[in-house]
Structures are given as structure tokens and as C-alpha cells.
Amino acid sequence: MTAGGGGASVLLVDDDPGTLETLRDILETRRFRVATAASGEAAVAMARARPYDAVLMDIVMPGLGGVDALRAIKAHEPRTPVIMMTAFTRDDLVADARRAAAVAVLAKPLEMDRLLALLERVTAGGAPPREEPR
């Protein structure tokens, strides 16, 4: 197993509790520091309260959707890398997320090795290639 996140902080945002739980356990095992938010509104509030090294956020959520939350977070802290994920393959939303400068848009179920590699790269400050859901 690789060294992993090296203590980088990640904000996980998803309205699905199972996704939050499992991702938190995986990321913490890989030595990321993880905070979670169950809605777009909560995520924006948390990102305004303190900076995170990366944000991993669902696109389709009730209330404030992922793309709007992404814009709000970017407006406050433009350098925070934000990775989006979605169970939908809604092209319009993926395009919106891209326009709003998401680092990548990943499809659920997630390919975890890819996600972890990406997270490690962005929290280490590297510029990752753009990735889209297939």
C-alpha cells in the first residue's frame, strides 16, 4: 500500500450516507484527513469556514446542487481543487461542472484506484489531466 494522502484535508460532499461512510473509511485508511457534508449548503458553509486541500462532491443533490456548490466554493477559494462525481450521465451537468472548473468528473460507481491517484496528485499540488465519466 502506498503512503497515501499524507495528512491532506479532503471535504466529502454527498447526500447519500453510504457513500460518505465508505469513502471516509477508505480515505482515512490512506491517511487523508476527512470532513463530510451531506448537502451542498453545508459544504459551502464548511469550505468558507476553513480551507480544504481538496473537495470531492456529488453533482446531483437535493437543494443546492453540486455544480452550484462548486461555483460558490470556487468564488470563495478559487484554488481549491474540486473533483465531482455523479451517478447520472447527464451531459449538460457534466459540461456545467467542467465549465465551473472541476478538476474531473467521475462516474459512480467510482474506480477507486483512479480516484485515489487523482486525489494524491491534486493534494500534492500537481496539475492533473482532465478526466470525464465514460
Binding site: D16, T19, T22, D25, T29, F88, K108, P109, R134
Partner: protein, 547 residues
């Protein structure tokens, strides 16, 4: 005057003339009878054909319009939705209604009304109508009497003043109690646009609601006002609950008509299919006229007329067959559309739990001891999640219609990428033959990647015992083609075209959409996807983009 005694010869001549006249009269009478019978038989046949055409039109309309009921009925029992309706949870109901309406934009509006008739939610949202009571509507009262799917009469919408028709179904709790009403409201204009494709040979049709108000009539375009057909003689009969065939005169169009009228049971609408009587009965008339003019040239006339009548009947039978084929095609398309769109709707709900299972397996693999059995079970979990997700993806791809974004694309690079990503089972040897590649082709790289991925998956599944998967790239017709071949079980000749039909599969796993999606994507990108096979030796799929 005295009668001159006639000679024997004269008597014989008279007898002969008399006999000839009698024979002629007999032949004429016989012919007249034959013609009469023929005309009657022909007329009966035409009436029967008109009735059959009306049946086919009725079935088409029921398939087309009745599909909205099927969608509503499939949607109403969804657990989260009906729970939200029972709680009158507007936010949650809104979410579901939005999903429903976005999946089926031909439902102009969807709404939920509580059992007391109060509007709880609607989409697109019109909050000014929340809390409004709809107890005076015929659909509310009908569902109160008998909680079954119901189609309303034509009415002016409270929101936009346009003419609408509402389909409603009851929403029931787990115990079967009615906890609300789910409805879709459709503008007559929307209904009209869906029905104009149905045509009647030598005629047309119209639809009226339970009160005789016009729902559809091709000749009445853009009607903004209610058109009351209740006083039309045929509609009067319909409203009395009768069905049958009537010969009527249309005073407006000065035309005699054969009208077949009947109720459409699932929609409650009355259908009148009419054909111009002159046109429909033309062959019979031609027979009568022809016989009168031709006089004694009986044999020729009868033979000629027989051909005319036969040809005309054959024409009607052909028209009928075309109508039936159209009906089958429409039913198939509707069924697929419903399947695809509902599947698209539930995909989100399926992919999240699948994602969680996959994450859990991943986590367990990170922390579990390197015990062989534990690892085996984790592998099983991951593999089955992948299978389930592939089915969901096939359904989503099938439901999704995205126009291709075509750019110059190197097929060889795409194929290499697909092979690299494909998780092929052990025992499969890959051969990648590049025969001079071919020029770049104008296609949507994502969509063609998907076609190739489906072909590779398909080839791997055809070789459960292992074998050789060959991918071959070559120039072709100024463009390029990719062939994906396997050494698997092969496809019997009778199935070679059917494998591209949606939902056709011979495999225990999968639902038979992979190749259907592949072909439709190939065609959307200006290409062709064909299959050839030698049963027992393998199959070869060729994806070709010519210039």
C-alpha cells in the same frame, strides 16, 4: 287478321328464335344475378375492411395514448414516491415529479392531488395553484367512484387557458389505501402532434371525449375552442354506448361516408374512422356500370371486372397490412421508450447503492487479512457489482440520445485504448492486426469508443471457455473499418439480424441492449455495423465508416 298456317320449317325457325331469346334472357338474368351477388359480396368485404382498418387505428391510438397510463402506473407505486405522497411532502414529491416530467416531456405537466382533492405539487411548478381544490373535476369524481386510471374530458386549463386532457391514476400505500392521485396534463396540441402520423386509406378519423367534445381531428388544426361534436349523428350513437358502421352523408363536405364508430376502452374516448363511400365502394360501382354498358360481352366484362375488384381488394389488404406493421412498430417503440426512460430514471437510485457496495469491497480489501477465501469473496463482490453496473449503463445508454460531436478520429488509437481498458477474463488471447490503419474518420470518439467496448465485451462473453479475440483495422471505401472477431460459439443464421434488436439475447446474463446500442450509435455517427458468423467457429462484427 287471320293466322296463316305456317309451314313446319317456319315453326321450327320460330321455336329456334324463341329458344335463343329464352336462352339469352336466361343468360342475362343469370349474369345480372351474378353481378348483384358480386357487388353485394364486394360491398360486404369493403365494410369488413373498413371495420378492420378501424380496429387497427383503435389499437394504434390505444398503444400511443395508453402508454401515458402505463408510465403513470409504473411510477405511482415507487416506494419513495408513494411514501412522500402519503406524507404530503411537497419537496420530495417535487423531486419525483421533476424527474418524471423531464423524462417524459410529452406530458406537458404532472401533478399530485391529495385524496381530499387539494393540489399538493406540480411540475413545472405553479405555486399559485398549491392548495387549490379540484373536487369539481370529472377525473377527481371518477376516481372517487372507482379508483382506476381515468382520462378526463377536454377542458380549459386553469393555468394557460389552453385545451388540455388529464390522465390520472391512484397512488396507493403498501396496504392498498389510496393516498393520492398522480396525473399528467397534456395539451390537445401535444396529443395532436402524436396522432397525425396515423393515416387511414381513403379516409380519416376523429376522436371525441366522453361528452362528445373533439379531442383530435386532423382537419381542425389549431382549434383554441372546444369543438362540440355531440350532435353529430355518429357521435350521438357513440355517446349512447353503441358501436357499429354507418353510412352517413356529410353535409359540409358533400360527401357520403362509411363511418365505423367505437369506444376506446382504456381511454374512454370515442373513435370514428370514416372513409369516403364513393372511394370505398368504387370497385362495386365500376362493376355495375361496366356490366350495363358492355351488354352482351359478358365473359370479357366479368373477367375484366373481376380483375378490377381483385386488384382493388389487394390494394386495401396491402394498406391494412402496412397499418398493422406500423402498429407493431409503434407498440415496440413505445415499449422501448417506456423501458428506456424509466430505466434512466431509476439509474441514479441503483448506481448509488452499487457504488457503496463497491467502495465497501475496496475498503475491506485494504484492511482484510490476505486470506484466500476472503479475497475470493471480495473479488466476487467486485465482479458482480461490475456486471450490475454494466446492465445499468446499457439501459442508460439506450435511454440517452445525445447527438454525436464528430471530429477527425483515429480508429486505431480508439481500439487500442478500448483493449487496454477492457477487463478480459483469463483464457482469452488478444490479436491486434493493423493493416495500414486508414485515414481518420469524422466521428464522436466517446460514442465510437462505446461501440468498440460493447463489441469487445460481446466477443469476450461469446468465449466463456476462452479463445482468440482479433481486432483488425483497415482502410475501407475512402474511410476505415474495425473488425472484432471471436472464436466462440457463433450465431445461427436466423439470429444474425435479430441480435441487433433491443432486448434480444441468447445469454443468461445481460438484457440484450449492448449490440442494439452499438448499432444505433454506429449509425448516428454515419457508420454501419454488421455481423457475420460461422456457428461453432465464431463471429465477426465489422464497424465501418466510409467517406
Amino acid at each position: 287478321m287471320t293466322l296463316r298456317p305456317t309451314s313446319r320449317q317456319e315453326r321450327l325457325t320460330l321455336w329456334a328464335i324463341g329458344g335463343a331469346v329464352a336462352a339469352l334472357v336466361g343468360v342475362l338474368l343469370g349474369t345480372a344475378l351474378m353481378i348483384d351477388r358480386y357487388v353485394r359480396a364486394d360491398r360486404d368485404a369493403i365494410l369488413a375492411e373498413s371495420a378492420a382498418i378501424a380496429e387497427a387505428v383503435a389499437a394504434l391510438i390505444e398503444a400511443h395514448e395508453g402508454s401515458h397510463f402505463k408510465i403513470l402506473q409504473a411510477f405511482a407505486p415507487r416506494f419513495l414516491f408513494r411514501e412522500a405522497v402519503a406524507r404530503r411532502d411537497r419537496t420530495e414529491i417535487d423531486r419525483h415529479l421533476r424527474q418524471l416530467q423531464e423524462s417524459f416531456p410529452e406530458m406537458d405537466r404532472v401533478f399530485v392531488v391529495a385524496p381530499d382533492g387539494v393540489l399538493v405539487a406540480n411540475h413545472p411548478p405553479a405555486p399559485q395553484l398549491y392548495g387549490r381544490r379540484f373536487t369539481d373535476r370529472d377525473w377527481y369524481q371518477a376516481l372517487g367512484r372507482d379508483p382506476r386510471p381515468y382520462t378526463s374530458r377536454v377542458y380549459h386549463s386553469a393555468r394557460d387557458g389552453a385545451l388540455h386532457v388529464v390522465h390520472v391514476v391512484p397512488v396507493r400505500s403498501e396496504t392498498g389505501r389510496v393516498v393520492g392521485i398522480l396525473g399528467s396534463s397534456r395539451r390537445l396540441e401535444t396529443i395532436r402532434s402524436g396522432l397525425t402520423s396515423i393515416t387511414v386509406p381513403a379516409g380519416d378519423f376523429y376522436l371525441v371525449d366522453r361528452e362528445g367534445q373533439l379531442v383530435f381531428h386532423r382537419t381542425r388544426t389549431g382549434a383554441a375552442h372546444l369543438a362540440d361534436y355531440a350532435k353529430t349523428p355518429v357521435v350521438e350513437r357513440l355517446l349512447r354506448g353503441e358501436a357499429g358502421i354507418a353510412e352517413t352523408d356529410n353535409p359540409v363536405e358533400r360527401e357520403a361516408r362509411l363511418s365505423v364508430y367505437q369506444r376506446l376502452p382504456s381511454l374512454g374516448w370515442g373513435l370514428v374512422v370514416y372513409r369516403s363511400r364513393d372511394l370505398a365502394l368504387q370497385p362495386a360501382r365500376r362493376i355495375t356500370l361496366g356490366a350495363g354498358a358492355a351488354g352482351l360481352v359478358l365473359a370479357g366484362a366479368i373477367a375484366g371486372l373481376g380483375t378490377v375488384a381483385l386488384r382493388s381488394r389487394r390494394r386495401t389488404v396491402d394498406a391494412l397490412r402496412a397499418l398493422e406493421a406500423a402498429q407493431e412498430e409503434l407498440v415496440r417503440k413505445e415499449r422501448l421508450a417506456i423501458l428506456g426512460q424509466l430505466a434512466g430514471g431509476v439509474a441514479h437510485e441503483l448506481r448509488n447503492p452499487l457504488g457503496v457496495i463497491k467502495n465497501s469491497a475496496y475498503y475491506l480489501r485494504m484492511v482484510a487479512p490476505p486470506d484466500e477465501r476472503v479475497q475470493k469473496h471480495l473479488g466476487l463482490l467486485e465482479r458482480e457489482v461490475a456486471t450490475a453496473n454494466r446492465i445499468v449503463t446499457d439501459l442508460l445508454d439506450f435511454a440517452r440520445v445525445r447527438p454525436p460531436e464528430r471530429v477527425p478520429t483515429d480508429l486505431e488509437a480508439l481500439a487500442a485504448e478500448v483493449l487496454e481498458r477492457a477487463a478480459l477474463p483469463e483464457g482469452i488471447t488478444v490479436v491486434f492486426e493493423r493493416r495500414g490503419g486508414g485515414p481518420p474518420v469524422e466521428v464522436d470518439p466517446d460514442q465510437v469508443t462505446q461501440v468498440l467496448a460493447n463489441l469487445v465485451t460481446n466477443a469476450a462473453q461469446a468465449m466463456p471457455e476462452g479463445g482468440t479475440l482479433t481486432i483488425e483495422i483497415a482502410a475501407s471505401g475512402g474511410g476505415a473499418r474495425v473488425a472484432v472477431a471471436d472464436t466462440g460459439v457463433g450465431i445461427p443464421p436466423e439470429n444474425l439480424e435479430r441480435i441487433f434488436q433491443p432486448l434480444f439475447t441468447t445469454r443468461a446474463k445481460g438484457i440484450g441492449l449492448g449490440l442494439a446500442v452499438a448499432r444505433s450509435l454506429a449509425e448516428a455517427n454515419g457508420g454501419a455495423l454488421t455481423a457475420e458468423s460461422a456457428p461453432g467457429r465464431g463471429s465477426r462484427f465489422v464497424l465501418e465508416f466510409r467517406r
